[in-house]
Point group: C2
C-alpha cells in the first residue's frame, strides 16, 4: 500500500505557513532542482528502463529507497515485454525523449505566439496521418484520448446537420440516432450520453461471426429509425475492435452512408496503424470515404499516452465553427501574425497538451518504413503464436485471427473432452480469473480476459510491442499451462 498523509492540523486544515522568507528572491533554487532532476532521471533509467525491460525481472515487484524509486518499482511495468494486457505497452526511446521535451517545455497548444513550433508540427503530423488515410486535404486535432476523438466526431456530425444545436441545444432538434456495432468501443455510448443524445439513441447493428458490422442490417436499421421519426446522422464504424480486433467493412458501409447521407466516422483508435503497412492496410479499404477517423498512435505505435488524432476530410473549417467561443483575451484578431495559426478554438479544451512531438520524433527517427515494420512484425508474431497454440492441447481459439488480438480459452487437462457436461461452461468461466490472479501475484506476465455475449471468460492476448520476440510467445503459452494445468 502506498499512502501519504498531507501535513494538516487536527481539524483537517492545512498547516499554518511559515513566515515569508526572502520574498524579493526566487523561491526555487535552480542548481538544487537540476541536481534532483538528474538523480530522478538516473532512477528512471535504472529502475524502469533497464530493469523494467529485462525479462528476468518480474512484471511488478517491490522495494524501498526514495519515494521516486518506490513509485518506480511498485508500479506495474508496461515497458516489460510480457505485458500483454491492453493496447498499450512497450517503450520507444525517441517517443519518450519527445515526451520529456514536451514536459520540460510545458507548452500550451492554443496560440501560435506561445507554441510556434508545435502549431506547425501538429499541422504537419496531421497532414502525414491524413495522407495515409488517403486525403490530400482536410483538418484535424489531437485529443486527450480516443473517447474524446469519437465524441468530437459526434459533435461535428450533429453540428453539420443542425448548426443551431450550438446555441439552442438538442431541444430544437428532432431525435437523432447513431449506428454502431455491439462490439464497438464503449466510448460511443459514453459520448452519446455526455453529448445529451442518450444511449438509447445508439442503435446496435448486427455483426457476423467475426464481429464485423453487417452493412445490410445497417441499412435496415436506418430505415426502421426513420420510420419511427428519428433522424439518423452518424455511423461509427470500428477498425480494430477492442476484444476481437475486427475491422468493419468500410467500403460497404460507406455505400450505405452515402445512400442515406450520414456522417461516416471510423474509430480506428486501435486498428489505424495498419495504414502504415502495405501488406495489411487493405483491412481499412474504404477509409478514405469516411468523414472522420480517430487514430491513436499511442497504442500500436507506442508513442505514449496520450496521442490520439481526430482526422477530418472537411475543408470548411467545421471544427473551429463547431467549437469556437472566440474568447477575446486569447484569440485577439489584431495580432501581428496570421491568426489562423491560433488553433486553440478548434478544441473544447482551453489548455491543451502537445501530443504531436512524441509521434513526430519517433516517425522521423525510424521513418514510415520503420513504423510499417513494427506493424508487420506484430502480425508475424501473432501468426507464430496461433500456430504454436494449434500444436498444443488445451488452447481453443474463439475464431480465426485477423489482427493482433488473439482470443482463446485455456482448457485445463481435467476438463478436456468434457464439453458435454452440464457444468462445463460454469467451470470454464472460472479458469481465466484464477490463472490471472496467479500470474498477477507471481508477477511473471500480464494478460486480460473477459466474457463476450454468450461466451464465457476467455483470454485476449495483445501482441504488438516491438520489444516482443518469438521466445516471449513460447513463454506465454508455457506460462498459461504452468498456471492452469492443475485446475
Amino acid at each position: 500500500m502506498f499512502v501519504y498523509a498531507f501535513p494538516t492540523t487536527a481539524d483537517g486544515q492545512v498547516k499554518e505557513p511559515a513566515n515569508l522568507r526572502d520574498l524579493g528572491e526566487p523561491l526555487i533554487d535552480h542548481s538544487e532542482g537540476q541536481l534532483f532532476l538528474n538523480e530522478a532521471f538516473k532512477i528512471m533509467m535504472e529502475e524502469v528502463l533497464c530493469k523494467g525491460t529485462d525479462v528476468k525481472q518480474k512484471v511488478s515487484h517491490k522495494s524501498l529507497t526514495s519515494p521516486l524509486c518506490e513509485i518506480a518499482v511498485s508500479s506495474l511495468n508496461k515497458c516489460h515485454p510480457r505485458f500483454f494486457n491492453q493496447q498499450f505497452g512497450g517503450v520507444d526511446y525517441h517517443a519518450l525523449a519527445g515526451r520529456f521535451l514536451t514536459e520540460t517545455l510545458n507548452t500550451n497548444l492554443f496560440t501560435y505566439e506561445v507554441a510556434p513550433v508545435f502549431v506547425l508540427m501538429e499541422t504537419e503530423v496531421l497532414r502525414g496521418l491524413r495522407q495515409l488515410v488517403g486525403w490530400t486535404e482536410g483538418d484535424g486535432i489531437f485529443c486527450p484520448g480516443g473517447s474524446t476523438s469519437n465524441m468530437y466526431a459526434m459533435n461535428l456530425a450533429r453540428y453539420r446537420l443542425f448548426p443551431e444545436v450550438k446555441s439552442q441545444g438538442v431541444w430544437s432538434l428532432p431525435r437523432l440516432t447513431i449506428f454502431t456495432s455491439p462490439e464497438s468501443h464503449y466510448s460511443v455510448k459514453k459520448g452519446a450520453a455526455f453529448l445529451g443524445i442518450g444511449t438509447d439513441n445508439v442503435i446496435l447493428v448486427k455483426v457476423d461471426d467475426g464481429g464485423h458490422m453487417i452493412p445490410e442490417d445497417l441499412d435496415t436499421k436506418i430505415n426502421v429509425a426513420k420510420s419511427l421519426g428519428a433522424v439518423p446522422f452518424l455511423v461509427s464504424c470500428t477498425s480494430g475492435t477492442t476484444v476481437q480486433g475486427a475491422f468493419d467493412p468500410l467500403d460497404r458501409i460507406a455505400d450505405v452512408c452515402e445512400k442515406h447521407k450520414l456522417w461516416m466516422h471510423v474509430d480506428a483508435a486501435w486498428g489505424g496503424s495498419v495504414l502504415f503497412s502495405e501488406q495489411h492496410r487493405h483491412l481499412m479499404k474504404g477509409v478514405d470515404r469516411a468523414n472522420s477517423v480517430a487514430w491513436n498512435p499511442h497504442k500500436m505505435l507506442i508513442a505514449g499516452l496520450q496521442c490520439s488524432a481526430l482526422l477530418l476530410q472537411d475543408t470548411t473549417n467545421l471544427l473551429k465553427r463547431c467549437h469556437s467561443a472566440n474568447a477575446t483575451y486569447l484569440f485577439q484578431q489584431d495580432k501581428f501574425y496570421d491568426v489562423n495559426l491560433d488553433v486553440g478554438d478548434k478544441s473544447v479544451q482551453c489548455s491543451r497538451k502537445v501530443d504531436c512531438l512524441k509521434l513526430w520524433l519517433m516517425w522521423k527517427a525510424v521513418g514510415s518504413t520503420g513504423l510499417a515494420e513494427r506493424v508487420d512484425k506484430a502480425f508475424f508474431l501473432v501468426r507464430y503464436l496461433v500456430e504454436q497454440m494449434k500444436k498444443r492441447e488445451g488452447f481453443h481459439l474463439l475464431r480465426d485471427v485477423k489482427y493482433v488480438n488473439v482470443c482463446f480459452w485455456f482448457i485445463p487437462p481435467s476438463m478436456r473432452g468434457k464439453e458435454g457436461n452440464a457444468d462445463y461452461q460454469d467451470r470454464l468461466a472460472k479458469v481465466a480469473p484464477v490463472i490471472k490472479e496467479r500470474m498477477m501475484k507471481q508477477g511473471t506476465m500480464m494478460v486480460g480476459y473477459q466474457p463476450l455475449g454468450n461466451k464465457v471468460n476467455f483470454f485476449r492476448v495483445i501482441v504488438f510491442s516491438p520489444l516482443v520476440s518469438q521466445k516471449d510467445m513460447d513463454f506465454f503459452l508455457d506460462e498459461i499451462e504452468r498456471l492452469g494445468n492443475d485446475l
Copy 2:
C-alpha cells in the same frame, strides 16, 4: 519555420516498407535507445532548464544543431521568469521529475491492476485537495484540463436532477438553464454547446465594477428563467476570473443556490490555489458549500500541464453512476481484488493519463507550507508591482487589484492628458498590440492584452511564478516604457 516532410511516394502514399528483418528479435535496441535518451536529457537540461531560466537569454531565440535541440531552442520558453503571458509558466523540478516518471511508466489510470500505485495516490491527492476545500468526504477525478472539469460538473448536475438523460438524451427533459457571469471562463459556453444544452441557455448574471457576480441579480435571473418555463439547474461561479482575477462571492451565491436547490459549481481553475494560504483563502469563503470545484494546480502551483482536479462533495458515487458504461472487458466483476479500486468508469475517457504524481511529488517535497509560500509571494510581488506603477506616469490600472492579475493601460507620453480627445480610445486600443509585437520580435518578455466590454485593449500581467523576483517587476515596467514611449 519548422516544417518536416514525411517520407512518401510521389502519389502521396507512404513509402514501401523494407523487407522484414530479424522478426524473431525485438525491433528496439535498448542500449542504443538509452544512449539517445541520455543525450536528449542533456539537451533539455542545457537548452531549456539552464539557458531557459537565465534572464540574460531571450524568451525565444533560434539556432540549429539536432532536431531536438532545434525544437528546444525554437520553442517559447515558459520557464523563463519574464513570461507573464498566461496562467502557466515557471518550472518546479519535483513536479517535472514526476512528469518524467509518469512518461517513463506510461501508466493508464483506469484499473487498479495496471495502476496500483496511482489509483491510491490519486485518491490521496484528491483527499488532500478536498480537505483544503473543507470537505472530509467526497469524490473527484483528474481531468484533461479545467474546461473538461467544468463540463463534468455540468453533466453531473444534469444527471443528478434527471438521471434519465443518460439513456434518453436531452429530449426527455425540460429546457435547462445554467447561470454564470459574463467574466467567467469561455469553457462554460463551450461545455453547454458540447453537452447539447446550447449557449443560449447559459444565462449571464450581472457583475459589479470589480467583475464579481451579483447574487441579487442571480436570484432575479433564476426567477425569470423559471417564469419562462425553463429549469435552472446549475450556477457556475468563478474563483479567479481569467482577465481580472475576480472571486465571485461564494457564500452569498450559495444562499441563492440553496434557496432554488441548484447545483453550485466553482470554477477555481485559476484561483483555487489561494486555499493553501491562510492569509488569502478568505477569497473563497463559502466554497465548502459548493457541490463541485474545478481546480488546476498546473496554473499557480506550476505542477505542469495537465493537472486539473474536479472535486465533489457527493458521497453517492454520482460520478461513476453518471459516466459508467460497465465494459466487461475492462471492469470485470470477478477480479481477485476490490473492484471499487477500478476508477476508470468515473471518467468519460478510456485511456487516462496519470496527472496526480507531479502534484504529489511537489507537495511532498515543499509541503503545504511551501505551496502557501508561493501563493503569498505572488500576492506580495503584485503589491510591489502596483506600488511601483503608481509611482510612474503612464500606467493606469483598470481598478484595484485583488488577486495576481494586474490589468492596466500604458499611456504613451504623447497621449497623456488628452483623455478628452475624440480619437483617444481608438489610439489607446492600438498601443498594447504594438508594444506586444515589439516585445515578441525582440524576445525580451511576454505579456498578454485584450479588450473587455467597452474597455479597449489593456495589458494583463500575471504574476505567480516562484522564479520571479522584484527585479523582474522593475524590468517589466522599464521594458513597457522602453517599448512604448515613442507611440
